[in-house]
């Protein structure tokens, strides 16, 4: 289990949100000064004991106090009213959003910004726009200069994802919080679950999953390199680092080579046992190394055993690899009646995967219990098994590609409208549910007319369901 407190403590992770809307991440080491540039600086100790999400004002150099909600509201309202002043002439003047956009472009620097300025200040620009632009700039500068305040946000799915999208969207495969939460929900993620995860988003998704489950779960992470890239985990605090999670027994990791060749992987990791005598003679350094290698071996062995056992409660795939190459190796490890979720930044990738999954099937044996059989009739159970072992395949049903986005609105009196522009790139999610199917199925809910159950032995049962 991972602890989570609404109170900021020593070594707590915190996201500092500045009036400029920029977000920074810090781990609050005791007795440390955090500089926020032109917004001032503060001492970490002064944050300890405070609740997350409050707004703090730097009212004197290095002195902070909690701003009461009403104070924040009135400041925000003033700001909004200023903005509205310009916005309410609405479509007859350059809009607030357009100005914001220009300002953003200018901030980003480079040619586009210059172009924007050129456009704004070119001779074709009439006087009142110049005024308006100046006004917007003034308001913005004022806000940035006089509002020496910040918010101390608690790490969570939404905040961590926003931070990563701002800082390195390609590293996290442009994964939005909306897609993450939808995958967890469709994946029936719940405390106590056992999940198989392929996560090449720097483990942003894994972190979100662990946050939602409070660490009350067992996750096997399959990764393509020697070591997993899990750099986003630390954004939830040091309890979430890979090392800590492995130690707590929450996380197991396997790379693809270990997945496809478990015996060889174990052989490679094998360390010859030392005798008690040899151990006693070892230098401390060597002994430690020996023990750590022994532990690694044991961990790999247990991870592989757990993986081979299969029957995972869900499969989550967020990978730069072609989804089908991942799914072919991992689908057999998922339990029956359990969900499979695949993320991609591109719909086209999932459309191809969807087509391949229509056709995917994996021959399997089906053991059935029976109230009487369970205890005392093993032979008849075996008989039934014999009867059906070639007639069953694992398949996926309820395959769908989902597009989920949120559309934010401005809610101001007399000024309600959707925000003018939002982030465009957002990924897609493919979902399916694993079932055990008789091989001779050809139509949804119905058997083919002349092929009764068990009559055929076809490999490809192309039922669309």
């Amino acid at each position: 289990m991972l602890e989570s407190s609404p109170i900021i403590q020593e070594n707590s992770p915190v996201f500092i949100k500045l009036p400029s809307e920029n977000i920074r991440f810090v781990t609050l080491k005791p007795n440390n000064t955090i500089s926020l540039g032109k917004f001032g600086s503060f001492c970490t100790d002064d944050l300890f004991g405070k609740t997350y999400d409050e707004t703090f004002e730097i009212y004197e150099p290095k002195k902070i106090r909690v701003l009461k909600t009403r104070e924040v509201q009135s400041l925000e309202e003033e700001n909004k009213t200023n903005k509205e002043l310009m916005d309410c002439r609405s479509n007859q003047l350059m809009s607030q959003d357009e100005i914001e956009e220009l300002r953003k472009q200018i901030k980003e620097g480079g040619l586009r910004g210059e172009e924007a300025i050129r456009q704004l200040t070119s001779k074709s620009l009439t006087f009142d726009q110049k005024t308006q632009y100046a006004q917007a700039k003034y308001v913005n500068r004022k806000g940035e200069k006089y509002l020496q305040q910040f918010r101390a946000l608690r790490p969570c799915l939404e905040t961590v994802t926003e931070y990563m999208l701002d800082h390195d969207q390609y590293k996290i495969m442009e994964l939005t919080a909306d897609c993450s939460t939808y995958m967890m929900t469709l994946g029936n993620a719940q405390p106590g679950g056992r999940y198989l995860v392929v996560d090449e988003t720097g483990c942003l998704f894994l972190g979100s999953l662990l946050e939602r489950l409070g660490g009350d779960c067992k996750v096997t992470l399959v990764h393509p390199n020697e070591q997993p890239n899990s750099s986003c985990l630390e954004l939830w605090g040091k309890e979430y680092t890979e090392e800590s999670l492995v130690e707590k027994g929450i996380l197991r990791t396997l790379n693809w080579l270990q997945v496809i060749g478990p015996e060889e992987a174990l052989k490679d990791m094998h360390v010859d046992d030392c005798t008690e005598e040899e151990l006693n003679e070892m230098k401390l350094r060597h002994k430690k190394r020996y023990e750590s290698r022994k532990a690694s071996y044991a961990r790999l062995q247990s991870s592989l055993e757990d993986f081979e056992k299969g029957n995972f409660d869900a499969l989550f795939v967020l990978s730069n690899h072609t989804p089908m190459s991942v799914l072919n190796l991992l689908l057999p490890k998922i339990g029956s009646s359990r969900p499979v979720l695949v993320y991609s930044p591109y719909q086209q990738v999932l459309v191809d995967t969807h087509h391949e999954l229509f056709k995917w099937s994996n021959p399997c044996e089906v053991t059935e219990t029976n109230n009487e059989d369970i205890t005392n009739d093993e032979s008849s159970e075996k008989h039934e098994l014999q009867d059906t072992q070639n007639a069953w395949v694992e398949k996926l049903i309820m395959l769908d590609i989902h597009e989920i986005r949120t559309r934010p609105y401005q809610v101001l009196p007399e000024r309600t409208h959707p925000f003018m522009s939002i982030r465009g790139d957002m990924g897609y999610v493919l979902s399916g549910l694993k079932v055990l199917s008789s091989v001779c199925t050809v139509a949804a809910g119905r058997f083919p007319k002349r092929q009764k159950q068990g009559a055929g032995n076809k490999k490809k049962a192309n039922t669309r369901v």
């Binding site: 909306d178 769908d400 559309r407 058997f447």
Partner: protein, 367 residues
């Protein structure tokens, strides 16, 4: 809790979600001796007991099948009997993100409605969390109570859910005099603004509390937003969930060259037909002449040219036959389609945050 842990085999007394066909799910309470019927036949429950979850079951006459799925809140949402308009999974998942619903969260929900949200909340907050659900409508309350009991969700029987029959707009949220404090509040009410003033008693003193109002109309949102601001909530945000579901399909690849070949074929037919017509005219003339001369021609000779001309197997006729999507004789490209009936709107989602510092304001203002 029935819904919270996976199991492998179907047992007598289990609730299963039966997959009947694409987008057709049905809740099924397994009772030895009962039988489920649909248009493809009979499915005795006795044959379901002992089967694996996810396994296909064929009807007695082997004419149809169903899958026995283990219920999850998401499958339940697709299968449940509608008592009210329900909250669907896309909205639920976004609400979870924004309200920070995680393991251990304490939540208020009003009203219970068809309980699609209740099941998802109960599952996600888990054994260390708590769900307080309120329903105004008497018969809906009774039905939900029975459902929660059947699904082992009620706190009185080791679950995490507490259901109260109450008009929260009038009587607030207090339960049995407990000092109820929660982390998140979900209001799915016709007039959320009437319930909002009661919330202040139940916000955390040492942490953030978040609220979501779920309303279909813009005007409801505008009123709720004002009510929240008056009550000292901040970070007021409004959004809509835009959701689309796609299915992979195949679209036939036809090139202009294919049509040109067909046009050539048609032309060839016509030319042949023309020549045949000329031939017939010649023969008819000969016949007339020979008739004049007392000769007779066999009818069959005359009719010979009217037989169908030679044809290649990939030509005209093929075009008109109904082609099965994905038929391997043809070339296809992978495409995606949305449902012909698209959900364009469910409700607007209004969010706000309550911070402990606001409580200082209140104590000041009472001073």
């Amino acid at each position: 809790m029935v819904f919270s842990k996976y199991k492998d085999f179907v047992e007598d007394g289990d609730l299963v979600v039966a997959w009947i066909g694409r987008n057709k799910l049905l809740p099924l309470k397994i009772e030895d001796g009962q039988t489920f019927h649909n248009q493809y036949g009979a499915f005795p429950h006795s044959e379901m007991i002992g089967k694996r979850y996810g396994q296909q079951i064929s009807s007695s006459a082997k004419q149809g099948f169903i899958y026995l799925l283990q219920p999850t809140p998401e499958l339940w949402t697709l299968a449940l009997p509608h008592r009210t308009q329900i909250v669907y999974t896309p909205d639920i998942s976004i609400i979870f993100e924004k309200l920070r619903i995680v393991h251990g969260t304490r939540v208020i929900e009003a009203g219970t409605g068809s309980a699609s949200m209740s099941h998802a909340l109960s599952r996600t907050v888990g054994p260390s969390g708590k769900l307080y659900s309120y329903e105004y409508h008497a018969s809906r309350y009774e039905t939900a109570l029975q459902e929660f009991r059947d699904h082992n969700m009620l706190d009185e029987i080791n679950g995490n859910t507490h259901l109260t029959h109450r008009d929260v707009c009038k009587d607030g949220f207090e339960t049995e005099g407990l000092p109820l404090k929660v982390d998140a509040i979900f209001l799915d009410l016709p007039a959320p603004w009437e319930a909002i003033p009661h919330l202040i008693k139940h916000v955390n003193r040492n942490g953030t509390t978040r609220v979501c109002c779920f309303s279909p109309c813009m005007e409801q949102i505008q009123r709720s937003a004002s009510a929240l601001q008056v009550s000292g909530w901040c970070d007021i945000e409004m959004l809509e969930v835009s959701y689309k579901q796609w299915t992979a399909r195949k679209s036939r690849v036809i090139r202009v060259d294919d049509s040109i070949d067909r046009l050539k074929e048609v032309k060839r037919h016509r030319t042949e037909g023309f020549e045949r017509r000329k031939e017939r005219q010649r023969l008819e003339k000969e016949f007339a002449e020979s008739a004049e001369n007392g000769e007779e021609l066999n009818d069959s000779q005359v009719s010979t040219p009217s037989e169908p001309p030679s044809k290649s197997p990939t030509s005209t006729e093929k075009i008109h036959k109904r082609i099965r999507e994905g038929d391997e004789e043809y070339e296809w490209s992978n495409v995606a389609r949305v449902d012909s009936n698209l959900k364009n709107h469910t409700s607007y989602l209004l969010f706000a945050v309550h911070l402990p510092s606001q409580l200082d304001n209140e104590s000041e203002s009472t001073e």
